[in-house]
């Protein structure tokens, strides 16, 4: 019996008229207003201004996503802004609380180190066997507590799987930004075996963290310490650690993304990202390539910033589990073969509804999770302009 396929979706089908786009964006407008304002409109004019700018920023981007049918460029605008303002906000916080970006032994002993999601893979085994969290942060309360980050991570994993790395991670926007600067990549050929490096880093840091009961990735390898916080250099060991993380930041977050136009840190090094790939398997949303409408032009493969589309995955119609659901392949596909998809449904039908469902989940998460940080970052920039100081 011949299998009947519905008519193939054209890229133009996901474009919406302004009126329809407004209607689709209305739930997002209401939800973001509620979440960003916390239910009350601030009386302070500066805070009101910052809230209004943040609110407009998110909702204009969401409206454009729906109106144009393009995802990645608007996602990236919000994602990169988030990463930059996160750094502004975080560093200002550190200066306010400690007077510098460096972390003293006293703060470590007092467990006042902000917890970040990158530590999660290292904490799981020691927590299971020793019932302790091997990170000097506070479990609840304080700035970036361990419990709050775990709750956010579980919520994000359930709602978008590894989409976290393109819609939630407050560091990901940095190499995303650098990967967009050049028009064409200067390095094109990258040995596909490097795709396994994040898994090796994950294995190495999980095993050494369990052995030495310390978060080895944070201590030795995390490039983002360069732009957040780091231990004050008081010994040879800390000096070596500092040299390592600054070098990794320059290489993996700036130089290589710039030369390759790929998100090198996120796709070829980050152990959290590797682990997060597993959550792609249990998540309701994924990206699919419809083999019937695919013309094998391989634009998706060339454009994918995370090495998640290969010839094999085009053939099978499924990107690799490292897919971060950024939407680049969906945007560049000339035939609309690549699309966001809800598991358990046919690939080629109701493409637009599935895209909308994913965007509601992912964009809402991004807006809620980053909203406070973006507002704080903006406030600090305004303060810098008006008073000359961010703190």
């Amino acid at each position: 019996m011949m299998k009947e396929h519905p008519p193939h979706a054209k890229p133009s089908e996901v474009r919406q008229s302004p009126g329809k786009s407004f209607l689709y964006a209305l739930p997002m407008m209401l939800l973001t207003l509620m979440m960003l304002s916390g239910g009350k409109i601030p009386a302070d004019p500066q805070r009101l201004f910052v809230l209004a700018v943040t609110y407009l920023f998110f909702n204009v981007l969401f409206f454009l996503m729906i109106h144009t049918g393009k995802t990645d460029r608007y996602r990236a605008t919000a994602f990169i802004t988030y990463a930059i303002l996160f750094i502004v906000s975080f560093i200002s916080h550190m200066f306010e609380a400690r007077g510098s970006m460096s972390l003293s032994q006293e703060k470590i002993i007092l467990c006042e180190v902000p917890f970040c999601h990158l530590v999660i893979p290292m904490t799981l085994i020691p927590a299971a066997f020793t019932k302790t969290i091997i990170f000097p942060g506070s479990i609840t309360g304080g700035f970036a507590s361990i419990a709050s980050m775990f709750v956010i991570w579980i919520g994000a994993s359930l709602s978008m799987g590894r989409g976290w790395c393109s819609w939630g991670c407050f560091f990901g926007g940095l190499d995303d930004a650098f990967s967009r600067i050049l028009k064409k990549p200067l390095i094109r050929k990258i040995d596909p075996r490097w795709n396994y490096l994040p898994w090796a880093v994950l294995l190495a840091v999980v095993l050494t963290a369990a052995a030495f009961l310390s978060p080895t990735y944070c201590e030795w390898l995390c490039p983002f310490k360069t732009v957040t916080e780091f231990q004050a250099v008081t010994s040879f060991k800390i000096l070596v650690q500092t040299i390592i993380f600054v070098s990794l930041f320059i290489a993996l977050v700036i130089v290589l993304p710039l030369l390759t136009k790929r998100r090198i840190q996120c796709s070829l090094f980050c152990p959290f990202g590797a682990m997060q790939g597993l959550t792609n398997r249990i998540n309701a949303f994924d990206v699919r390539i419809d083999p019937d409408s695919c013309i094998n032009c391989k634009r998706c493969m060339t454009a994918c910033p995370t090495f998640s589309v290969t010839e094999e995955s085009i053939r099978t119609g499924r990107p690799l589990m490292s897919c971060m659901k950024c939407g680049t392949c969906v945007d560049v596909c000339p035939k609309g073969a690549a699309s966001f998809h809800v598991r358990g449904t046919p690939v080629a039908v109701n493409r637009n509804i599935k895209r909308l469902l994913f965007l509601y989940a992912a964009f809402l998460f991004l807006a809620i999770f980053s909203g406070g940080t973006i507002q704080d970052g903006l406030s600090r920039i305004i303060r810098l302009i008006t008073t000359g100081s961010m703190i």
């Binding site: 066997f129 075996r193 396994y196 490096l197 898994w199 090796a200 880093v201 294995l203 190495a204 095993l207 050494t208 369990a210 052995a211 080895t216 030795w220 010994s235 040879f236 060991k237 070596v240």
Partner: protein, 210 residues
């Protein structure tokens, strides 16, 4: 029995200390469960030799060595450097090199096996000389034994108690059908080797490492 129970009660920590060495190797080799059991036995034999060597030492010097921080760092540092050398060698030089036994010659096959055994014995020996917290406890208790034989017996039973926790490791062989794990294991061995190399050299260099 005291040694055995001490080993049993603290064996999880011992397993955590051995895992960074053993797990990447077992993954990287991609052998069957049975072959992994054989590899584990060779690793454990090396570890036992390390323990017994230390039993003699601990009894002879009444545990003064581990209490002397400078000497302790020297010994742990040397063990780490040895481990680092083995792991880095495994990751970069042994990786991807076909075993001569692929040609089907018996003598080459035996040579390959003996090299692999020596490798596992050396890794076991280096982890056996590693001062993980349970091992330090055992050293202190062994130093109180009246005779050398008692000290040896204590370490032997302690070794048996801790080894129980390594029994699940060979079951990594169940994953051998997933070929990328071989490469991941070898890459992880290199990274862990680099970590041990830094720890070892700084410990050897003495007061620099704090």
């Amino acid at each position: 029995m005291q040694g055995f129970f001490l080993g049993l009660s603290s064996g999880a920590v011992c397993a955590a200390y051995c895992a960074p060495v053993l797990v990447p190797y077992l993954l990287g080799e991609g052998r069957s469960v049975l072959q992994n059991f054989s590899a584990l036995l060779q690793f454990l034999l090396g570890r036992l030799l390390g323990y017994l060597a230390f039993a003699v030492f601990a009894w002879g010097i009444h545990a003064s060595l581990p209490q002397d921080i400078a000497h302790r760092n020297l010994l742990i540092g040397a063990a780490y450097v040895l481990l680092a050398g083995l792991l880095i060698f495994y990751s970069f030089f042994k990786a991807g090199r076909a075993c001569p036994s692929a040609g089907g010659q018996e003598i080459d096959h035996r040579l390959c096996d003996s090299r692999s055994s020596l490798f596992l014995l050396s890794m076991g020996l280096a982890t056996g000389l590693n001062f993980c917290p349970p091992f330090l406890l055992a050293v202190v208790t062994a130093a109180d034994q009246a005779s050398l034989l008692q000290s040896l017996l204590f370490f032997l039973t302690f070794f048996l108690g801790t080894s129980v926790f390594l029994i699940p490791a060979p079951f990594l062989g169940l994953l051998r059908g997933f070929s990328p794990l071989h490469l991941i294991g070898k890459m992880a061995a290199g990274l862990i080797g680099a970590y041990y190399l830094f720890l070892g050299t700084t410990m050897l260099a003495g007061g620099l490492y704090r």
